[in-house]
C-alpha cells in the first residue's frame, strides 16, 4: 500500500550460508518491528520483504532485481559473502538502489550504491595483529585461511604489514584449506611444528564458516592451548562458538567491532529486545548483527534527513550520518561509504562468550588498503563534487567509474 515503505531483506535462508545469514534476517525483522513501534519512518510504516537467495550467487542477483524492480523496495539489507555482494553490485548500480552490507570483507571496493557497515581489513585484521605483537610478544605467524578471496586478500595485506614491522618472511607461514574442510589433523600438527621454533607463535585465522568447529576441536584435542599458540580469528563470533564446547579454547582470540559481552547500556537493551523478539533468551548476538543495526539506523536517519526514500537523496544525506553503535559510541558513515567503529579484541571464555581484552578508539574503514601497491594511492569520496569510488591521489583522476 501507499502508506508503507518497503525494504528488502536479502539473506540466504537455505543452503550453506543459511547458518550465518538467517540470524541477520531475524535482526532485520526485529529492527523493522521496533522502528514501527516508534512510528515508522517519515510517518509511514516499514514493511520488510524477505526473500531467500538460497546461497546461490546468480540467485542473489535475480532476487535483488526482483526486490528493486518488482517490490520497489527503498533499500535492501543483505548479503554475507563477498561473492554475493559482487553478484548484486551491478544490479544495484544499474537500478540505482541502495544496499547495506553488514559483514567484514576484504575491502578493495567502494560503490556509490552500497554502504559497507562491516569491517574493512584495517578495522579488524591489523589491530588484531598489533595486539598479538604488542601484548603477547608474538614473533612468528601462521596465516591460516580458507582458500578464497577474503582470506587471500587479508593475508596479502597482513603479510605486507608484518614485513613492514620487521617480521622475516621465514617467520610467516600461509596455509589454505578448501571450504568446509573438516580434517584438520595435518594442518594443526603443521602449526604445532611451526610453533616449536623457539619463538612465540600465533595463528591468524581467516577460516570461514563451518570449517571452524572441527578446527577448534582439533586444536583442543591436540592440546594446543591459547597460552602456547594463541589463535586470533576474524570469522568466529558468538554464533559459531555456540556450536562448540569452548572450555579447551579459553584464551583464543577474535577481533571484531562488537561482542555480546560489551558492557554498555545500549547493548544490554539490544540484547533484551533480541531475546524478547526471538522468544529465546539463549540466542546470542554478534558483530554482523551490530553492523546490520548500525546500517538500518543510519538509513533511517538519512531518510529522515532527506525527507524521502529516493536513492539519490538518501545517498547524499547519508554521508556524515552518525548513529549509536552497540559498544557505547557512535558510528559515522564516511564519504567512502564505510563506517567508523572501534576494534575489539576478545578472548574466548568457557561460556562461549568473549572477554574483551582490548578496545581501540574509532577506526575509519579503509576501503583501499594502504598495504597493497595498487590501492595505496586510491581513495573514495562519494560526496559531490568528487563523487568517485576510486580516486587516484597521485594522478588526480577518478579511476574509471563514478565521474
Amino acid at each position: 500500500a501507499e502508506d508503507t515503505i518497503k525494504i528488502g531483506v536479502l539473506h540466504s535462508l537455505s543452503g550453506t550460508m543459511a547458518i550465518s545469514e538467517t540470524t541477520l534476517k531475524d535482526v532485520m525483522l526485529m529492527l523493522v518491528a521496533e522502528q514501527n513501534k516508534k512510528g515508522g519512518v517519515l510517518g509511514k510504516k516499514l514493511e520488510a520483504v524477505v526473500v531467500d537467495p538460497a546461497s546461490n550467487w546468480p540467485l542473489f542477483a535475480e532476487k535483488a532485481r526482483e526486490l528493486i524492480s518488482k517490490d520497489k523496495v527503498a533499500a535492501v539489507f543483505g548479503c554475507w559473502t563477498s561473492s554475493s555482494r559482487k553478484s548484486v553490485l551491478p544490479v544495484f548500480e544499474e537500478l540505482n538502489s541502495l544496499l547495506f552490507y553488514p559483514v567484514q570483507y576484504e575491502g578493495e571496493e567502494s560503490s556509490r550504491n552500497i554502504i559497507y557497515t562491516g569491517a574493512a581489513p584495517n578495522q579488524q585484521a591489523i589491530p588484531a595483529v598489533d595486539y598479538l605483537m604488542n601484548s603477547e610478544g608474538v614473533q612468528r605467524w601462521v596465516l591460516e585461511g580458507t582458500d578464497y578471496v577474503y582470506p587471500q586478500t587479508t593475508n596479502k595485506i597482513l603479510k605486507a604489514y608484518l614485513m613492514s614491522k620487521g617480521v622475516k618472511e621465514a617467520d610467516i607461514m600461509i596455509n589454505y584449506t578448501p571450504f568446509g574442510f573438516s580434517d584438520w589433523q595435518t594442518e594443526v600438527s603443521k602449526i604445532k611444528s611451526f610453533g616449536s621454533a623457539g619463538k612465540k607463535t600465533a595463528v591468524v585465522s581467516t577460516i570461514n564458516g563451518d570449517a571452524n568447529v572441527p578446527f577448534y576441536k582439533e586444536l583442543g584435542n591436540q592440546g594446543i592451548k591459547a597460552q602456547d599458540i594463541p589463535v586470533v580469528a576474524f570469522s568466529v563470533g558468538e554464533e559459531e562458538l555456540a556450536g562448540i564446547d569452548t572450555k579447551p579454547l579459553v584464551g583464543h582470540l577474535a577481533a571484531w567491532n562488537y561482542f555480546q559481552s560489551v558492557d554498555a547500556p545500549v547493548n544490554a537493551e539490544f540484547i533484551k529486545t533480541w531475546h524478547a523478539f526471538t522468544k529465546n533468551d539463549k540466542r546470542v548476538t554478534n558483530d554482523p548483527m551490530e553492523a546490520a543495526y548500525i546500517g538500518f539506523n543510519a538509513w533511517v536517519k538519512a531518510v529522515e534527513a532527506a525527507g524521502t526514500t529516493d536513492t539519490d537523496k538518501v545517498i547524499d544525506s547519508i554521508v556524515g550520518v552518525s548513529v549509536p553503535n552497540l559498544s557505547g559510541g557512535y558510528s559515522t558513515v564516511m564519504p567512502n561509504h564505510h563506517i567508523t567503529k572501534p576494534v575489539l579484541i576478545g578472548e574466548i571464555q568457557a561460556n562461549g562468550q568473549f572477554d574483551i581484552v582490548q578496545q581501540t578508539p574509532q577506526v575509519v574503514g579503509d576501503e583501499w588498503s594502504d598495504y597493497l601497491p595498487d590501492s595505496k594511492d586510491l581513495i573514495s569520496d562519494w560526496r559531490k563534487p568528487m563523487s568517485c569510488g576510486n580516486f587516484n591521489v597521485k594522478t588526480g583522476k577518478c579511476g574509471g567509474k563514478g565521474s
Binding site: 535462508l13 537455505s14 524477505v50 526473500v51 531467500d52 537467495p53 538460497a54 546461490n56 550467487w57 546468480p58 540467485l59 542477483a61 535475480e62 532476487k63 532485481r65 526482483e66 528493486i68 524492480s69 518488482k70 559473502t81 563477498s82 561473492s83 559482487k86 553478484s87 553490485l89 551491478p90 544490479v91 544499474e94 578493495e108 571496493e109 567502494s110 582458500d147 578464497y148 578471496v149 587471500q152 586478500t153 596479502k156 589454505y176 578448501p178 571450504f179 597493497l372 601497491p373 595498487d374 590501492s375 586510491l378 569510488g389 576510486n390 587516484n392 583522476k397 579511476g399 574509471g400 567509474k401
Partner: protein
C-alpha cells in the same frame, strides 16, 4: 543429405516447441521495448532477464537429456561444461571493461591488480576478441568433454562409475576455480561487466537481444538434438542406452557414438553458459558445484527424460517455481520444492511430458481397442 537430416527433426511436438520459442524470441523483447510500463502486456526487464536465465537452464537441461535420456550417460557434471562456457564469455566481458575497472588498468582485470599480478596470464590472451571468445565457448567445453570422454568411453566406464567421475570432474574444477591462483577471480568470480560488442550489458536493448538469442539458440539446439535423435544414429543411441554390448556386436563403435554425443552435448551446455553470464551478470565457481549439476538432472527428470522438450519444460517450471517460492514463502520453499520432486516421481513417473504423452497414447489405444485385438494377431499399441 543435411536438409533431410534436419527436416526429419521437425516432428509435431518439436515444431510446436520451436514455434513457441521463436514466438517468445520476438514477442517478449517487443513488449519490453515497445509497450509502456503501464501496459498490461508489458514484460518488465527483470522478468525478461529471468526468462532469459530460464532459457539458458533449459538449454543446459536439453544438453543433458541428449546424453542421459538417449545415450544412458547420467552426467552429474554437466554444470562444468556450462560453467566453462560461462567463464569463456565472462573472460571476454572482463576484457571489455578495459580501463574502466576500479584500478583503471587497461589490461588486467581488477582482481588481478589487487592480488598484485603483473601481467595477464597466457590463457587470458585472445579473449578481448569476441570471435575468439565465442569459439572458446564451444572449444573449451567440447575439448574437456572430448578428452574426458575419450578415456572414459574407451575404458568402458559405465553407469554410476561414469556418473561419479563426472561429478569428481566438476568438483575438482570447483575447487580449482576457487583458488585465486588459478587466475579466474577466485570465489568472487568474474562480474561487473560493462558491455558486450560495444553495447551496454545493462541496456534494455541488449537484454532483449540476449533474450531473443537465448530463445533462438535453444530452438536451434532443439532442432539439432531432435535431428540427431530421429536419425539412425539416434536409434543406435537408444540401443547403447539399453543394451550396449549388443550394439557392439552389431559392429558399432560404441565409444565413438558416446563421444560424439557427449561432445555435442557439452558444447550445447557451453553455449547455455555463455548466454547465461551476460544476462545474470556473474560467473563464479559456485556454478561448478556438484549440486547444481544434480539439479539439472532433476529438471530433466521432472520434465520428462528422453523427450527433448521435457527438459525444457522441466527447467522452466522448476526454476520458475524456485523464483516464486523463494519470494513468496522464503522460509518454507524447500518443503514445497522437495515435496514437488517426490510427488513428481511418484505420480508422474515419466516426468510431465512423458506422462502426458503416455496418457494420450493410452487414449488412442483405448479408442483402437473398441475393435477387440488379439495379442498374437494384429499389432498392438505400445505399452
Amino acid at each position: 543429405m543435411i536438409t533431410s537430416f534436419f527436416l526429419r527433426a521437425l516432428e509435431g511436438r518439436i515444431v510446436a516447441m520451436v514455434a513457441v520459442l521463436l514466438g517468445f524470441a520476438v514477442l517478449v523483447p517487443m513488449s519490453n521495448l515497445l509497450l509502456g510500463p503501464d501496459n498490461p502486456l508489458h514484460v518488465p526487464t527483470y522478468v525478461m532477464s529471468l526468462l532469459g536465465k530460464y532459457l539458458c537452464y533449459a538449454l543446459l537441461a536439453l544438453a543433458l537429456d541428449l546424453v542421459w535420456g538417449y545415450c544412458g550417460i547420467l552426467s552429474l557434471g554437466h554444470g562444468a561444461f556450462f560453467s566453462l562456457g560461462g567463464y569463456a564469455m565472462g573472460m571476454y566481458l572482463m576484457r571489455q571493461i578495459g580501463s574502466r575497472g576500479v584500478y583503471g588498468d587497461p589490461i588486467l582485470p581488477d582482481f588481478m591488480v589487487f592480488l598484485n599480478w603483473k601481467q595477464l596470464p597466457w590463457f587470458w590472451y585472445g579473449f578481448d576478441m569476441f570471435w575468439f571468445a565465442a569459439l572458446m565457448v564451444l572449444v573449451v567445453p567440447g575439448l574437456l568433454a572430448f578428452v574426458f570422454g575419450w578415456f572414459a568411453f574407451r575404458s568402458r566406464v559405465n553407469g554410476v562409475y561414469l556418473s561419479i567421475i563426472t561429478q569428481a570432474m566438476t568438483y575438482a574444477l570447483l575447487l580449482a576455480f576457487f583458488r585465486n591462483d588459478m587466475g579466474f577471480g577466485g570465489n568472487n568470480g568474474l562480474t561487473d561487466y560493462k558491455d558486450i560488442l560495444g553495447f551496454s550489458v545493462q541496456s534494455d536493448g541488449t537484454r532483449s537481444v540476449l533474450f531473443a538469442l537465448s530463445a533462438i539458440m535453444l530452438a536451434l539446439c532443439l532442432i539439432l538434438a531432435s535431428a540427431i535423435v530421429r536419425s539412425k544414429f539416434g536409434k543406435v543411441l537408444l540401443g547403447v542406452r539399453d543394451a550396449e554390448s549388443r550394439v557392439r556386436f552389431l559392429g558399432f563403435r560404441v565409444e565413438n557414438i558416446k563421444l560424439f554425443t557427449f561432445v555435442v552435448s557439452a558444447m550445447m551446455a557451453g553455449i547455455a553458459g555463455a548466454l547465461f553470464v551476460p544476462q545474470v551478470g556473474i560467473i563464479n565457481p559456485g556454478e561448478f558445484a556438484p549440486a547444481n549439476s544434480i539439479e539439472v538432472v532433476i529438471w530433466t527428470a521432472v520434465g520428462g527424460r528422453s523427450t527433448l522438450i521435457g527438459p525444457i519444460i522441466g527447467a522452466v517450471l522448476v526454476n520458475g517455481g524456485k523464483t516464486i517460492f523463494t519470494g513468496v514463502f522464503p522460509e518454507f520453499w524447500l518443503f514445497a520444492l522437495g515435496g514437488l520432486f517426490v510427488l513428481v516421481t511418484l505420480f508422474l513417473p515419466k516426468g510431465i511430458v512423458g506422462t502426458v504423452a503416455q496418457a494420450l497414447a493410452k487414449r488412442r489405444a483405448a479408442q483402437a481397442a473398441e475393435t477387440p485385438t488379439h495379442l498374437n494377431g494384429k499389432p498392438q499399441a505400445a505399452e
